[in-house]
């Protein structure tokens, strides 16, 4: 045996050569994010360009990290910023405090604040991390402002509309089949998920639960075979 017996230990090593590679080449490509991923917030607009935020400060109240600062102000009747009486005059989020728990999204009565899938950003000082309305508010087309220190890709804007809200009718079993979000923004509209829709609708729209999506993705990564 002698020398060859030492090679037996390399059996696993050599077998790995023929296995599919799992490394994601991050700066070139991103791994796909799950549909409910919580990333950087955006402040949405209605399709006519009006801001959705009404300055009610519910998001600031519910935030466990106390990272949101909102001040409302009365709308100018001649030139309103948002429909209704008040609008968010100041809206700031400190992303070095935010834990992306999505509770502000659940609390928001008008779906003004939602979370995108963009999570790849970093700061060189603490002041840069405080995002104001200038950075958070979407542009007139409804897509997020892509700041130059953030690593946006096109898929990061998918499914940005609000998920089920605590005040949504779909929290009630009697409202099965009624999505709890409106998707009025025109992009990032989510289809109903299992438990939020009836089964017939689910088969018709071919929407599958998250577990199925992830299982498909893993088996695709492994080249179609499951270990």
């Amino acid at each position: 045996m002698g020398i060859l017996s030492g090679l037996g230990g390399f059996k696993v090593t050599f077998k790995q050569i023929f296995e599919p590679r799992v490394t994601k080449q991050y700066p070139e490509e991103k791994r796909p994010k799950p549909p409910r991923f919580h990333g950087r917030h955006v402040l949405n607009r209605y399709p006519d360009g009006m801001e959705k935020c009404i300055g009610c400060e519910l998001c600031a109240g519910v935030c466990p990290a106390k990272c949101i600062y909102v001040r409302g102000a009365d709308n100018d009747p001649a030139n309103p910023t948002s429909p209704g009486e008040r609008f968010g005059f100041v809206y700031e989020i400190n992303f070095l405090r935010c834990i992306h728990c999505d509770m502000c999204v659940e609390a928001c009565p008008t779906e003004a604040i939602t979370e995108s899938k963009m999570f790849e950003f970093s700061f060189t000082n603490r002041e840069d991390a405080i995002y104001t309305k200038a950075e958070l508010l979407v542009d007139q087309e409804g897509s997020a402002r892509r700041l130059h220190w953030e690593d946006w890709r096109d898929e990061d804007e998918e499914y940005t509309s609000g998920w089920v809200r605590a005040t949504a009718p779909s929290g009630d079993p009697a409202f099965q089949g009624v999505p709890g979000w409106s998707g009025e923004l025109g992009f990032g509209v989510r289809e109903p998920e299992r438990g939020q829709s009836d089964l017939a609708l689910e088969e018709a729209t071919e929407q599958f639960p998250l577990r199925k999506i992830l299982a498909d993705r893993i088996s695709r990564k492994l080249g179609g075979k499951v270990r």
Binding site: T23, R31, L96, F119, E120, S122, F123, R126, A134, L147
Partner: protein, 181 residues
């Protein structure tokens, strides 16, 4: 003759570029995992994200062999002197990444037990937001640090460089505010 007295000529200029390239391509992090961020830090070193692509696969247990301290997790008041000692034991040049919101500002733990940001103890170069930041966010922070090292000056002290970056950040922020609406 101290290096500061050398005039900037062809030779020293190219050596500076070479040194910057060598520094950015071989950062060795010190293991300083304190909480759940350490799990993400470990997974960025593992096969799926593979920090070896950036020349930093070895997480050194000894601070004497490390260039970069990734403070991963919340720093309690009791841990703060230990963190400072590990930082002091590292050789110059050295850099610090505050990984996660707890290390950066204290995050949601705004109480008497947690240090409200490790920049009260050590100079931080990059802050990575998130709770915890995913491996991609950590890699984004690392790549930002690479860019700082590549474009920085090798003989300047960190505080001056930091100050100049701060000015760059402020001018960028003013551009955004001016461009909106």
């Amino acid at each position: 003759m101290p290096l500061e007295d050398l005039s900037y000529n062809f030779l020293t200029g190219n050596i500076e570029k070479l040194v910057q390239w060598a520094r950015q391509a071989s950062l060795w992090p010190a293991t300083f995992g304190l909480a759940c961020c350490a799990i993400e830090m470990m997974s960025s070193g593992a096969a799926d994200f593979d920090l070896a692509r950036f020349g930093m696969e070895v997480f050194r247990a000894s601070p004497r062999q490390a260039d970069l301290m990734i403070v991963a997790g919340r720093v309690s008041q009791k841990m703060a002197p230990v963190l400072r000692q590990v930082y002091d034991q590292m050789m110059e040049p050295k850099w610090v990444i505050a990984m996660g919101v707890c290390a950066s500002t204290g995050g949601m733990f705004n109480n008497y037990a947690v240090v409200q940001g490790v920049d009260q103890i050590v100079p931080v170069d990059i802050y990575a937001p998130g709770c915890p930041p995913g491996p991609e966010t950590l890699m984004h922070a690392i790549l930002t640090l690479h860019e700082q090292i590549r474009t920085g000056e090798i003989l300047r002290r960190r505080r001056e460089v930091e100050k100049s970056y701060h000015q760059i950040g402020q001018s960028a922020a003013s551009r955004i505010v001016g461009g909106a609406e």
